[in-house]
Structure formats: C-alpha cells, structure tokens
Symmetry: C2
Subunit: 235 residues, 2 copies
DNA sequence: CGTTAACAGTTAACGCTGTTCACTCATGCT
DNA sequence: AGCATGAGTGAACAGCGTTAACTGTTAACG
C-alpha cells in the first residue's frame, strides 16, 4: 500500500519539478497544464489525478516556492553563528534580494501576480497564503527579537495619529508586544525592502538605474538605521 | 477621404473604449480579442484591421491609460493656483494613490505586469513605454522645481559611494542639474511612493493593515520631509 | 489462488482562445 | 461609370483547460 503511495508522491514531485522547469525557462505564462504534461511525456488529463485544476497545480508550486524561499533564508541567517541580530536582518534582506534576482521567474510568480480583487473574506485558505504567512512570520520574529534586545527610538503615539496607532496595536501580538511606533518602523522596513526588490526585479528601476545594487545597499543601511542598527560589518 | 479616416479613428476609439470597459469589469484577463469583438458586435478578425495582434491592442490601451493618468495628475496639480511646490507634490502623490485605488484594474495593467525578461536593449519602442516616460518626467520636473526653489539638505557624495554617485550623476540632466545626493533623495521619494501604492492596491498590505490610508498619509509626510517639505496644510 | 475494486493513464471530444486566409460588399477616387 | 481600396464576414487551424468514457495494471481480500 505504501509502495503505491510512494509512487504517487514521486510523480507528484516530478510534476511540480517539471512545472518549475517550465517556469524558469519561459516565465509564468509558460507553465501550462498541457505543457507540463508534455514535459513529462504524459497526456493532459493524467495530471487531473494529482491536481483538480491547472490553478491548483500553480498554487501548489507557489506554496513550494514560498517554503523553499523561507527555509533558504532561515538557513542563511542561522548558518553563521552571528548572534548579532542586526547582521541577521541584513543577511535576510540581502538574501531575499539575491534570491529574487537569481530566480526572477519564481519571484514574479510569488509576488508579481496582481491581485486586484478584494475577494471579500480577508484570510484565504490556499496553502500558498499559509506559506506566505510563514514567510512573513520569519521577518516579524527577527524584528521583534531586535526590538527586545535593544529597543530603538520610535515615533510617539500622537505623532502617528489615533487611527494608525489603533491599527498597529492590533498587530502587536504578531510583533511580540512591541509598541505601535516600533511596529510602524518595522512595517516601514518591510515596505521599503519589498518595494525596492519588486521594482528592481520587475525592471521598473532600470529606467533610472542600470544596476541597482549600490542603491539597494545604501537603502539597506538607511532602513536598518531606522531600527537602531549600525551599518553591519562589510566583511 | 478624411471622412473615411474619421470613421476609422472613431471605431478605433470605440475598440479601446470597449477594451477598457472589459478591463474595469473583469480585470486584465477579461480583455481578450474575441471578448472585445463581442462587445462591439463584430467578428474577431475585424479587429485585425486596427491592431496587428491582441498584444498590440493591449499596448495601445496601456498607452492611453498612461496618458490619461498623466494629464489627470497634471490637471490636478495645476488646477489650484497653489504656487507652493510642496503642496503640488503632495497633490501629485495623493492623486496617484487615489487614481490607483479608484481604478485598480487599470493600475494593475499599467504597473502590475511583471516584466522579468531583460530583453537586451534597454529602451523599448512601444508607445506604452514612451507614455511611461512622459509620466515619469512629470515627477522629475516637479522635484527639480522644488530643489531649485529651496535646495534641501542631502547626503554628501562620500556617503553614497563612488558607484552610486556616478550612476546618479548620469541622471542629472533629467533632474535639471541636481547634485547626486539630491537625486538620491528624489529617487527615494519615488521608490517609496511607488512601492507603497503597489502594495496597497495589490493587497500585499492587507495582511497587516486592513485600511492603509492612515499609514500612507504618515509615510507621505515622512518622505516629503526628506525633501525639505513641511507637512502641507491639511485643509 | 482467483476475484474484485481501486487507480494511473489514454483517447476523444467540447468550448474557448488568438490568428490566418479567402471571400463579399460598399465606399471613394479617377 | 469603372476600378480599387478597405472594412467586415465565415471558415478554419492550432493550442488551451477541462470532462467523460474507456483500458490496463496493481494492490487487497475471501
């Protein structure tokens, strides 16, 4: 019985591997159901034994990519025995950018898919979103550690406005009880990091900067400074 | 002869209007060649008299949307006789966000299309990119005016690094001769504004902030302050 | 050990997409 | 009036995601 299951799991992995091969080769549009089947020497309907639809296949691929990215970044920041949490955040940010630049197609599939439909219910059920939450938790966790080790100066509540303070305190438990001003700065860090990487990998920065590496590094120092981090040792 | 041309121009406008109707109704995926033809009561091949391909039709729509956005923002910032350039920038940024939130489908088509292929040659020829350049010039122009009216403090060259300084000075002519440090800050403004709006309209901010309006406003003040602008008068 | 049920996979087909070709018909120019 | 240009149609092709009916093989059970 398990031999049957193992075989099934194996082909399921092969399917996702083939889908990824097509993704890196030809971008998001190239990973079609028929194309995946062709890549494996199968007929299209065979894939419906493993995924209920083409979208489900892509969603599974997205979830896998999220997990791969998450573990890659965890390994990266835990590899060196740097207890310096600031250096860890620096490694995390740089690792995310490096991964995005090294795998632009995968990054485009994960973050570049425009989702203009609010869809009513806030929290969706797809495994991709769960994996995305795990990924986001990685960042929140590290920032919270940094805060609790050495609290950084942050704007006072009356500087942010009551509405924003209320919204930020609602997220306080995810940030291990940090005050709204500190969460605000942490959100800034994520927002700017995410925006920068998206603009660079999607080519929106190409029109002004041919190579955004130097700009990204300068920005990393700037946003790290807002969290009370010194420029980490270059070596 | 001109009556013939006028008729052609009219139907051409009708085609793009129908395409846009489908865009706002069903998002980017809904604007298909057959769907546009159906909307007009035409047969699909008829559209090939006006556009060489489906992609060309979408590109024309993109160019139109860019121009519409550009003129809308120009009208907005020139409507009031505010000579305060800072208030103009504030109007520009807020107008861009409002337009994006009011027309999420159009914004997704303009800025949400991931372009992971470097395509070798830097400057493409499509009218969409030309319109995008006109749009970018709007921002650069205004920032340059702000700088020349009241230069704001900016990082020195040695703080940015030689590589970044060199890249920024290459863009100096587009910014009317501003020094690298000032261009750096201007680039920051655009980067953060763009990243914020993209994250909000694409729902990436929904997971932490249900309504990002307050956060956006706070960020506007912050990035405006970096350009030497005071918080503009709330009323 | 033989029977049976579950499962992987195939073939054929449907409706959809963008695109092309051959054709018709009306309009405007000479 | 005659002709040519061009708008528009109809039929068709390849490819897409998807479904239904069918064929083997393989594991489990009396």
């Amino acid at each position: 019985m398990d031999s049957r299951d193992r075989r099934r799991a194996a082909t399921l992995a092969e399917i996702k591997a083939a889908a990824r091969r097509l993704l890196v080769a030809g971008g998001t549009a190239a990973v079609g159901l028929r194309a995946v089947a062709r890549e494996l020497g199968l007929t299209p309907p065979a894939l419906y034994r493993y995924f209920p639809s083409h979208e489900a296949l892509v969603s599974a691929l997205i979830a896998d990519l999220y997990d791969e990215l998450t573990t890659a970044l965890m390994d990266l920041q835990c590899a060196e025995e740097d207890v310096d949490l600031g250096a860890r955040l620096y490694l995390l940010a740089n690792g995310l950018r490096d991964w995005a630049l090294a795998h632009p197609a995968e990054f485009g599939l994960l973050f570049g898919t425009a989702v203009p439909d609010p869809e009513g219910d806030g929290h969706e059920e797809t495994p991709g979103h769960q994996a995305a939450m795990r990924f986001g938790a990685l960042f929140k966790e590290l920032v919270a550690q940094i805060w609790h080790q050495k609290p950084f100066p942050h704007p006072a509540d009356d500087e942010l406005g009551t509405v924003l303070v209320e919204q930020l305190t609602a997220e306080s438990e995810h940030f291990h009880g940090m005050p709204p001003g500190a969460i605000y700065l942490s959100l800034n860090y994520w927002t700017r990091l995410y925006g920068l990487i998206c603009m660079e990998v999607f080519g929106q920065l190409h029109w002004v900067l041919p190579d955004a590496a130097a700009y990204f590094e300068a920005q990393l120092f700037e946003i790290g400074g807002a969290l009370g981090l010194d420029c980490p040792p270059p070596e």
